[in-house]
Every structure is written in structure tokens, then in C-alpha cells.
């Protein structure tokens, strides 16, 4: 059900973009105004969100991550899984952000009926598809820099030629555009095919996938089937950079679908689960060194502790203590 609702939503959005071809004013709206506003919403939205997170106190370190914490010198500790200092944390974050190390430990429950046994086995498909998708998307977006900047930096050209290494077709089919679509397809099928995953999937889960699939497929078709004049696209985008909003000439419906879905993605991002992108940097089980024993962590919302030392107590009851013949520390 959720899968269907989201599919209809994305389809309607795509059809909405098709109307852009009808008139010059609509071309301007869909080709320049909406992307501009959407990008502003994305930027401000993400910054506002993360700023809100930044205001939250970080009271205590979570020590229960997998791995032995640093304690006595003769107990071997696991610096990467339970780091005691900044270096370990940097290593753990690096592997988490770039290689999804936690997801690599993903397991699946298996019921072996004839043996009446439950089995937990490692499963890497989700990890592999997630890696393929995220890396492909990063590289695709990075390759898009050729539309945005002049001169095109050398690194972009190098990435392009590596990506087009197989030299299939004219223009060359990039490995990452295929991988992006295939991995998104797998991630979608995973939600639909497995009854358990399907049960816990919400419309928003599907929406993000359909949206990204729509973007990737429209981009792919635009490059390989219904060509658009990308020289004009770049010239128009260059205008945006100097805040001259113009829509490119000589582009068809696919271009408007692509750019409109990207705009929707931009607007959707700061209000949805896609915020895991900045969020992963703030995972408490990943970014805090487990130094609870070595360092004192004061909970910032604790009321100030008003102590009363023995010396102060003696001072307070000084006369009574003396009168009762009590032996004072002071004397």
C-alpha cells in the first residue's frame, strides 16, 4: 500500500514537470525558479536542523559498543571498536561514513524447521547494495560538476574517464549510472519481496527510493536516449551562479522531470529520513571516545551540587562541639 502511494506521488510529480514544456513561463519556473528555491531550502533546512542538534547536550559516553574498552594494561583493548582517544574515534568514523562498517555486521534470522533451530547468519547484500548506491551517487553528483563550473577541473575528467572505462556505446555509458539504477532497484525490491521488511516499510521509505530512481532513470535516458542540448544546459546553469534565472533552450520534458525531481529531493531532504547523511556524523555510539573512566563527564543539566565538607560542619557547630568536649580536627 505504502509502496503504491509513494509511486503515485512520484509519478504525479514527474507528470507535473512535463507541463513545463508547454510555455516559456513554465519553463522558467520549472527550469530555474523552483531549483533555485529548492536549493535554498535544502541549504537553510539542513543547517537549521544540524544547528538544533548542536544545541543538545552530550552528557555521557556510550561504553557498550562492541569491543573491549581500554582498562588495565594487560587487558587487550579494541581501539577501533571501543576507542579511548581521538585517533580511534577518527578511524571508527572514517570506516563508518565511507564503508558503512556497522551495516557490514548485518545479520539475518533463519529458522531451520526440521532441526527446530534458530540461526543468525551474516548477510552482506544490504551492505553491498547500500555501498554501491551511495558511492555511485557520490560519483554521479561529482561528475555533474561539469555542468556547474568552468573550467572543468582535471579531477572531474579523470573520474569521468575511469567511470567510462568500458567505453560501451556513444556517448559512453558510465558504470556508476548503471550501478546507481541497479542498486536502487535492489533496495526497492528488498522492501517489496521480504514480508518482514515490507511490513515495517513506510510510505516515506518508498518515496525516497522512487524519487532517486526517477532522477537516475531520467538522467540516464537524457544521456543515452532522448538527448538534450547540454551545452545550453551548462550556459543556463552558469547564469544561476550569477543569480540570473534562465531556463535552458533546446531541452525536452526529460530534463524538466530530472531537475524537478532533484528539486523535490532538495526540499524533501531536510525534513525526512535522508537527514541520516549529516546524522551519521553525530551518532553517539560512533563519535564519542569511551573515556568514561579516564575523564570526568559532568551532565550539563544537573543542578549545581552544594557540598558541605567536614571542616564546614565543624565550623558550623563549633561552639556546641567545644561545649560537649568534642576533639576538633582544627586544633
Amino acid at each position: 500500500m505504502g509502496a503504491l502511494v509513494s509511486l503515485v506521488a512520484v509519478a504525479v510529480l514527474a507528470l507535473l514537470a512535463v507541463t513545463a514544456v508547454a510555455s516559456d513561463n513554465l519553463r522558467l519556473v520549472f527550469g530555474a525558479v523552483i531549483p533555485g528555491v529548492a536549493f535554498a531550502v535544502f541549504l537553510v533546512g539542513v543547517v537549521a536542523r544540524v544547528t538544533r542538534w548542536a544545541r543538545a547536550p552530550v552528557p555521557f559516553r556510550i561504553p557498550t559498543t562492541a569491543g573491549q574498552q581500554k582498562s588495565l594494561p594487560w587487558i587487550k583493548n579494541s581501539e577501533l571498536d571501543n576507542p579511548s582517544g581521538t585517533l580511534g574515534v577518527v578511524g571508527r568514523m572514517f570506516l563508518e561514513v565511507l564503508f558503512f562498517r556497522s551495516l557490514f555486521r548485518n545479520t539475518k534470522v533463519e529458522l531451520i524447521t526440521d532441526k527446530e533451530k534458530v540461526n543468525y547468519i551474516g548477510t552482506k547484500y544490504l551492505w553491498a547494495a547500500a555501498m554501491a548506491f551511495h558511492w555511485s551517487m557520490l560519483i554521479v553528483v561529482f561528475r555533474h560538476f561539469r555542468f556547474f563550473v568552468e573550467p572543468v577541473p582535471r579531477v572531474v575528467e579523470i573520474i569521468q574517464s575511469l567511470d567510462g572505462f568500458f567505453q560501451v556505446g556513444v556517448p559512453v555509458i558510465y558504470a556508476t549510472s548503471v550501478l546507481l539504477i541497479v542498486s536502487l532497484g535492489y533496495l526497492l525490491l528488498r522492501r517489496l519481496a521480504d514480508a518482514k521488511v515490507k511490513y515495517i516499510s513506510l510510505p516515506t521509505d518508498y518515496f525516497a527510493l522512487y524519487l532517486l530512481l526517477g532522477i537516475a532513470i531520467s538522467g540516464f535516458l537524457m544521456r543515452h536516449l532522448e538527448k538534450v542540448d547540454i551545452v545550453n544546459v551548462k550556459a543556463a546553469i552558469a547564469g544561476w551562479a550569477s543569480f540570473q534565472l534562465v531556463a535552458p533552450e533546446g531541452v525536452g520534458a526529460l530534463y524538466f522531470i530530472h531537475v524537478f525531481l532533484v528539486s523535490v529531493l532538495f526540499v524533501y531532504f531536510p525534513f525526512s529520513k535522508l537527514l541520516h547523511a549529516p546524522g551519521v556524523f553525530l551518532s553517539p555510539t560512533r563519535n564519542l571516545a569511551n573515556n568514561n573512566r579516564a575523564k570526568r563527564h559532568v551532565n550539563p543539566w544537573n543542578p549545581p551540587i552544594v557540598g558541605h565538607t567536614y571542616a564546614e560542619w565543624e565550623e558550623e557547630f563549633h561552639d556546641k562541639l567545644v561545649a560537649s568536649g568534642f576533639v576538633l580536627d582544627k586544633e
Binding site: V152, I230, V231, A241, F281
Partner: protein
């Protein structure tokens, strides 16, 4: 304890990266306008197909030509816009009219960071580059 300091550094990095095309273009001198093309000087006024189609889809045409010549040995192409007959050849037909490769093909391709590998084998017009 608050980690706001570190997070603000992260936010600044994000904003700089997300807006990088803007300041990249501001820092480089190059104008991001579309390149000026040098059109053929041999008196021809039309391309093989309509200009709009050529601009966006000339690689399709070339691919089609290549396939026709290499796979079927057929070398004559009848233009669907003018009805003229062309010899399907990259070096002899396209580059005959567009002899100024540097200010035509390359001008666009450099702008869009495209580097067709065709010239590994095919001959570029003399005096170009």
C-alpha cells in the same frame, strides 16, 4: 558537555562544499558562457541534419554511420532534412566542412569536458589542434 564547536565546523564545511560551484566560478577567470563556434568556411550553409538535432545528437549520427559502414559496408547516407547524399565518414565528411576542429568540435567538448576517443584512430584534419 556540549559538542557545538565541532558541529559548527562541520556545518561550515557542508555549506562551503554545497555552494562550491558558486565560489569556484567566482575564483576562476573563465566565463562560463557557451563557447563561440567557428562555422565551416567552405561555403556550406547546412549541416547533415537540422542544426538543433546536430547540436544535441551528433554522436548518435556518428554512431549510426560507424555501424552502417563497419557492419554493412554501406557508405551513402541520405539526409532526412535536405535529402542530400553524404559519404558516411568522420574524417572525410564531418571534418571536411568542420575543418577547424579546435574552434568547433573541441570548443564544445572542452566546455563540457567530453573527450571522444575516436581520434585515437581517426585522422584529425591537418592544421587543427
Amino acid at each position: 558537555m556540549y559538542d557545538a564547536g565541532k558541529i559548527i565546523v562541520g556545518i561550515v564545511v557542508f555549506v562551503v562544499l554545497a555552494t562550491s560551484p558558486l565560489w569556484f566560478n567566482a575564483l576562476t577567470e573563465a566565463t562560463p558562457e557557451a563557447p563561440k563556434l567557428t562555422l565551416p568556411t567552405n561555403g556550406s550553409t547546412e549541416c547533415v541534419e537540422a542544426t538543433g538535432y546536430m547540436r544535441a545528437s551528433h554522436m548518435d549520427l556518428l554512431n549510426q554511420w560507424r555501424e552502417q559502414v563497419v557492419r554493412t559496408g554501406q557508405r551513402d547516407y541520405v539526409s532526412s532534412s535536405s535529402g542530400k547524399v553524404f559519404d558516411m565518414s568522420l574524417s572525410r565528411t564531418c571534418m571536411d566542412c568542420h575543418s577547424n576542429k579546435a574552434d568547433f568540435c573541441d570548443a564544445c567538448h572542452t566546455y563540457m569536458a567530453v573527450s571522444p576517443y575516436c581520434w585515437d584512430c581517426h585522422v584529425e584534419p591537418k592544421g587543427a589542434n
